[in-house]
């Protein structure tokens, strides 16, 4: 089971007709079950596009994608994906509990089963007392936890996260990193995590996929051999810094044509 690929990407190319941009070129990537893989790179390297291609929200121009042995569109129809975006994308007219229950409603779960699962998810993201609050009554970090709970509520085999903590302050971000890891260890889901923070990628992942821009390619893959469970101390371990340096150098070597502000974003 652990060796079966969850996602198999073969020679995927995506060009956008507007401006003739090649967002992705000849991407080959395989994810196995239970992995937490980060996609990292400067803006414009196609990491979000790759995430959307995997999630069947964008169609590739060439190449093939299989998810759990099916086409990506079949996987989407089967509810194999949970998605978390940079902004929480909660629905203001729904309470926290109802936001989490949304995918369950779509899957036709009955009320009691929904209620039980929502209670479970609220515990998982430590928002027990906020079931009947509305999203705008919560802080940014809490809203993002609701989005994560919603994405996990139907136990998707694949969790796609597009810079989920990018808009949060550093403290909240590090706390949510730890929370994500503990959830991941509990649920055993496979996670694709897009970020442009090197330390976040190294801290979370089993593997870091480094991408370079124009056209978007995979510059290299770094295996992160830091032991789990990872803790606050992991960030201070010498091995952590070695891996951060390795990722950074990979980014630099392929990023001669980075704009200054992109370089800055990668610090």
């Amino acid at each position: 089971m652990s060796v079966s690929p969850v996602v198999h990407i073969e020679r995927v190319t995506k060009t956008f007709p507007q401006g003739n941009v090649t967002a992705l070129q000849d991407i080959d990537l395989e994810l196995t079950s239970g992995e937490l893989v980060s996609l990292i790179g400067p803006s414009g390297c196609g990491k979000s596009t790759l995430l959307r291609v995997i999630g069947d929200l964008i169609q590739p121009t060439r190449g093939s994608i299989t998810v759990n042995g099916k086409s990506a569109s079949q996987a989407r129809k089967d509810g194999d994906y949970g998605i978390v975006f940079q902004d929480p994308v909660l629905f203001d007219w729904r309470t926290v509990a109802k936001n989490i229950a949304l995918p369950l409603e779509m899957l036709g779960w009955d009320r009691n089963r929904r209620r039980a699962r929502v209670a479970e998810m609220l515990q998982l993201v430590e928002l027990g007392g906020f079931a009947e609050h509305h999203p705008w009554q919560l802080s940014g970090g809490m809203q993002q936890r609701v989005a994560i709970a919603r994405a996990l509520s139907f136990e998707p085999s694949l969790l796609l996260m597009d810079e989920p903590f990018g808009a949060l302050d550093e403290m909240t971000r590090e706390r949510l990193n730890l929370e994500l890891l503990s959830i991941w260890e509990k649920t055993g889901s496979t996670v694709v995590f897009v970020t442009h923070s090197i330390s976040e990628a190294v801290f979370l992942s089993t593997r870091v996929v480094v991408m370079s821009p124009r056209p978007g390619r995979i510059a290299g893959v770094v295996d992160i051999d830091l032991p789990y469970p990872r803790t606050v101390e992991t960030r201070e371990a010498p091995r952590f810094f070695e891996l951060v340096t390795e990722v950074r150098e990979l980014l630099r070597s392929r990023g001669e044509h980075l704009l200054p502000e992109e370089e800055e974003a990668l610090q």
């Binding site: 999630g55 929200l57 975006f85 729904r94 949304l102």
Partner: protein
């Protein structure tokens, strides 16, 4: 609860004071300066006519109110329908939107005599038509904006759940449109009352409020005309408040609804 009521009372106090002062000044100045009755009657005179003529004024008001209500319902309903069609079918949008926007600049009230000719000028339908046409555009334009206000990410999220187009409408587009819709319905409620009354200025049943105001003004019964305007205002405010109240019920979840 009591503290909330008290807070609301405090919030309303300044407006109430201004209102009382203005009425007081009006009364005082008209008396002091001996303003002619036909130029500006005293508030006390208007109020006394408002009371003595209540058996004429209120049935007339109710008659006109029903016209406004009919026009409001039909015009707003068609506005919502048109917005739905335009939001759903892009080609319909490209064909219709320029026309709607051009129509928006037309002083629609100018059509009032024409509607009188199209429908029976005595019948309430010509007034409903004026009120309805006035309501249509604001409701249509705002509802359309609302239906298109759903964020691309929200749609993407629904797609990731394999949601059908219909489900995306039901669960995302329609709820996002509701705050916009209610804003326009409040505007439309005011326009409907204006449309009905102005429509009646061009002819209508004898027991209609607009006809009554118009006739009384022509025969120098200005205090009665003013009392009629008072009835029209009260009914207009009532309709506006009714829409506002249903907004607060439907949009309980909205932070804006709580503030307003």
């Amino acid at each position: 609860m009591t503290s909330r009521a008290a807070r609301q009372a405090v919030e309303w106090l300044p407006a109430l004071i201004v209102f009382v002062v203005v009425i007081g000044l009006w009364e005082g100045l008209v008396r002091a300066l001996h303003v002619q009755q036909f130029l500006l009657p005293k508030p006390s005179t208007i109020l006394s006519v408002f009371w003595t003529q209540r058996h004429t004024l209120w049935p007339a008001g109710w008659y006109t109110f029903k016209e406004a209500l009919g026009g409001f319902a039909v015009g707003s309903g068609l506005g919502i329908l048109a917005a739905t069609v335009v939001a759903r079918f892009k080609t319909a949008g490209t064909a219709l939107m320029p026309i709607f926007i051009a129509a928006n600049a037309v002083p629609i009230i100018a059509f009032a005599p024409i509607f009188g000719a199209w429908f029976n000028p005595i019948s309430p339908h010509s007034k409903m038509a004026v009120a309805g046409v006035l309501c249509f555009l604001p409701v249509m334009v705002n509802t359309l904006r609302g239906l298109n206000s759903a964020k691309p990410r929200q749609i993407e999220l629904m797609r990731s759940y394999a949601a059908s187009e219909l489900e995306i409408w039901r669960r995302v587009r329609v709820p996002s449109a509701l705050p916009f819709l209610f804003t326009s319905l409040k505007v439309a409620s005011v326009l409907a009352m204006i449309g009905a009354i102005v429509g009646e200025y061009f002819g209508g049943a004898l027991n209609a409020l607009g006809v009554l105001i118009n006739t009384d003004a022509q025969i120098f019964q200005f205090q009665t005309a003013w009392a009629g305007i008072l009835v029209a205002s009260l009914l207009g405010i009532a309709l506006y408040c009714a829409v506002g109240a249903s907004e607060r019920v439907v949009l309980r979840w909205s932070p804006q609804a709580r503030d307003s």
